[in-house]
Symmetry: C2
Subunit: 137 residues, 2 copies
């Protein structure tokens, strides 16, 4: 009834590298599990749940500190939703900004690539385009 997992099993169950799991333990993100007679880490259901939570949040781009905060809130269910919502919204805003930045950057790169492909090899403008304030002086 109590599932006991080696670190390797836990890793493959959650798509996490073994070293990463040990790292999470080291920084106090995942609680240290019991050890076997041979000093192997033996994980249980609760660890699997926690690590899944961590991976999911990391996949959504939350920082380790944000994950820590979210987990703290998840542990005390009452009154947590609003706080969680705040974190999620902050993160949502950051993503919106990042998308805007990348889109602008893609446009610049397109201009660069465009200007290059219009020219023959001999007089490529892409290098000058990368140092715009200098090829005029």
């Amino acid at each position: 009834m109590s599932e006991r997992l080696t670190i390797g099993k836990l890793g493959s169950a959650t798509g996490t590298k073994v070293e990463t799991i040990r790292y999470y333990e080291q920084i106090g993100l995942l609680p240290a599990p019991a050890r076997s007679a041979g000093n192997y880490r033996t994980y249980q259901g609760e660890h699997l749940r926690r690590l899944s939570f961590i991976r999911r949040a990391r996949d959504l781009g939350f920082s380790i500190d944000q994950v820590r905060e979210l987990m703290g809130l998840a542990d005390r269910r009452e009154q947590s939703c609003m706080a969680v919502n705040v974190i999620a919204n902050q993160h949502r805003d950051a993503i919106t900004r990042k998308i805007a930045d990348l889109t602008a950057l893609a446009g610049e790169l397109d201009t660069l690539i465009e200007s290059c492909s219009r020219n023959t090899v001999a007089d490529c403008r892409i290098i000058e385009a990368l140092a715009p304030s200098l090829h005029s002086g």
Copy 2:
């Protein structure tokens, strides 16, 4: 006629921190300049050109290694355009992928935030939403 710049001047001329310039020298991205009697770095026009190029490329999101490659190409002008185009296009593709990932992520976060704001504090679903494969079993 030969403009001599201190590291501070070079920094403010290119929007680069002094430490960053020294770092670029350390990793061999910017050539080491001559030194004054008092052991100060003394930069000239060529350094300004190079550093401007580096900054511009970094702003466009090229990695240090890509910048190194681009600079190598810039030095040997002939036959460089196509190679530059390859690097720029690789980078453009990476950005396209990143934008797609972030957009998908924003959608997931919106669902998360939505599901939270629909509920009262007591039965917030956002935590469960973050560990999707576990709250069903």
